[in-house]
Subunit: 404 residues, 2 copies
């Protein structure tokens, strides 16, 4: 991409009401635009990051045999009434609206009810099971407050996976596969070291659910984690019983703020029972399908990565999800010419700053945007047939050959 | 994809309230699921078609220098009030909802207001122009009736492009590029021959806008088109003045039903003026930005293609957007073995019917799903080292070598 050809530019200031660091930096770097609290547009560079995160998650989901589909935002109340969740008392983040032809609708804050209902068409026998389906869908949640940039959205992108099984044993086995796939995702995003599988409230049907919590100063949750960060407990279930269940000692755990980047949940019969999702087993008996659900916050992950790695100069993207790998600057006549050549040969990976502005401004933008490697080709570097390449994260600089 | 591993199967019946042929076929073939009138889920095969259409449109948009971004569904009323379009009298398809923290919101039926507002941050000088930005976004329209399957959705996918210019001349030039890009899209989808650029009402600021209308028996519009299908007039502006303007004679035009698959519009100052999108020109004078907007109905196109090419056996996808190119069936022990080999070598292109059902059922599903080529490997075809390949559209069959 040529910066001379995009409308995006870095901004001196973020909106005054944007208090979160991820929001401020992402707006200033031209990755997102704030429509209102918790509601953000994704500009070309930001959309590339989102797509890169989606592709990593998609690969990991497909690797464990999941199928991608796409459900709707508009929700018929009927199945939600059967589970009691259309009530604003039960789910307090509904956006509701009305059909012109009559009747209430909701905007899906999550999708258990429609996916369970959908599966009634496709699952009738044990031979139809298991089923693993996921989507990348915009979720709508009418949060009273949304002050954390893209860490907490009223309209945000989520990957949600639902699994359907004959038995709890089968659910347990798949659940373990998802745990590993999720850790793969976080590792590929550079968050592996500080993302801890965390015991959290399991609701009515399981004692615990598992969250994936990334340690982060601005995280909205509080977790207690062990020394090698292999296990954590969410504050909401931090008590003697949990410690005993998990064979942990309070004094060995460290308290810290964290952001929930994933959540996995053994639903068992919670939704399949009230919605009547049944199958006929090998003995010709009717049984209720056993379910699991598994979420990853895609746009939140972008915010977490932004918060986690940013420094005083701006964003720092890991290569795996950076919008471009290289930020290219040519200096001097020959430097510019050679930069053109380099750009033409590596277009997909290069953000080419071909604007008619001072190199210093370009360097500042390269840093604010957080592109992993800055490549400078100047008359000086060309004297040795080289370009200067600078690592955004470490600041390390070296010369690489660009001419034979 | 292995059919033994997907939850999707063909259905004997579509929902009783599904009266549109595209809806019936797409539901029966397992491509979509009906949530309610005008609101459909995309199942794995359907989502692949949608993504294929998006990729064709994306390529054509990028080819003319457009940049992709993603705006939000939730809409702050403020800019819409400035243009008068938050009123239900002015725009009669709003879904509206309320923020928990107070205040009305709308669900975007289109995006002129937010994109114009966004550009106020990025456009201030003639040097910042032109700008061409597009998105693939879910639109919400509270239609009183929605009985045309995915041809008319209450929640549907659209590609919308907006262009920003210094002058009308510049808008006109870009508009021509979009006209060509749109025809490229329709040609690549196999709709080129029957898709006609059509003069339609231009609203307040232009005499005409252009629609792209695909001749289709179930189309909701009526157009009058010339013998070589190079020009058409929408019934809404079919009068003596239009005929005179376009130098057409009524008796040379054929009346026919059509579906609108695209619409391009010279907005000029319609939104930039009330929203205050200005720039400073070369003479340091403040001017108002000149705009165009250009839409393609992505999910509607899927419905149009389904309607257009389906026959009495089911769907018929053009190769360019088919979910898979080949539908693979192995018959007999050696046939199955060889089919496995073939599948492993061509996974991305092959829908492998490895289910334990009769070949006749597989052939019927292959036809209903509309996969372009059915490949049968049997002990009989293997006797000559071949597979039998059948063209879904023409029914032509030939043998191709699969073994050396």
């Amino acid at each position: 991409m040529r910066l001379s050809k995009t409308f995006v530019k870095t901004l001196r200031e973020a909106p005054k009401d944007e208090t979160a660091r991820n929001g401020q930096l992402l707006v200033r770097a031209g990755f997102i635009n704030k429509e209102m609290a918790g509601v953000y547009d994704y500009l070309p560079l930001g959309l590339r990051v989102i797509e890169n995160i989606k592709n990593i998650v998609r690969e990991e989901m497909n690797n464990i045999g999941c199928e991608e589909l796409l459900l709707t935002a508009l929700q018929n109340p009927e199945p939600w009434e059967k589970t009691g969740r259309f009530s604003d008392k039960e789910v307090d983040v509904w956006f509701k609206t009305e059909l012109a032809s009559g009747g209430m609708l909701g905007l899906a804050p999550t999708h258990e009810e429609p996916i369970t209902t959908l599966m009634k068409t496709y699952i009738s026998s044990y031979k139809d099971l298991p089923v693993y389906v996921y989507q990348f869908q915009t979720k709508f949640r009418n949060e009273l407050r949304a002050k954390s940039g893209i860490l907490r959205g009223r309209e945000f992108l989520m990957k949600d996976l639902y699994s359907f099984h004959t038995t709890e044993k089968d659910l347990d086995d798949f659940y373990k596969k998802v745990e590993r796939a999720y850790m793969n995702v976080f590792e590929r995003l550079g968050l592996g070291e500080d993302t801890i599988e965390t015991f959290a409230s399991g609701g009515m049907f399981s004692k615990y659910s598992h969250e994936f919590q990334t340690l982060l100063p601005v995280g909205e949750d509080t977790v207690y984690y062990n020394a090698d960060k292999t296990i954590a407990v969410n504050k909401e279930v931090m008590n003697d019983e949990t410690l005993k269940d998990l064979n942990l000692k309070r004094e060995e755990l460290t308290e810290g703020p964290a952001a929930e980047v994933g959540n996995i949940f053994k639903l068992k019969l919670k939704y399949s029972e009230p919605l009547g999702l049944k199958y006929i087993d090998k003995n010709n008996e009717q049984k209720t399908v056993c379910m699991g659900c598994y979420g990853i916050g895609i746009s939140r992950l972008m915010g977490v990565v932004a918060e986690k790695f940013a420094d005083d100069k701006g964003l720092v993207w890991p290569e795996s999800i950076a919008p471009f790998k290289y930020y290219l600057v040519g200096i001097g006549e020959k430097g510019m010419e050679q930069a053109e050549e380099y750009y033409k040969a590596h277009q997909d990976e290069v953000l080419f700053d071909d604007r008619d502005i001072r190199p210093g401004e370009k360097f500042a933008d390269a840093e604010l945007m957080g592109i992993p490697y800055r490549v400078v080709i100047s008359d000086k570097t060309l004297a040795t047939g080289s370009a200067e390449i600078t690592n955004r994260q470490t600041g390390e600089t070296k010369l690489i050959k660009v001419l034979d």
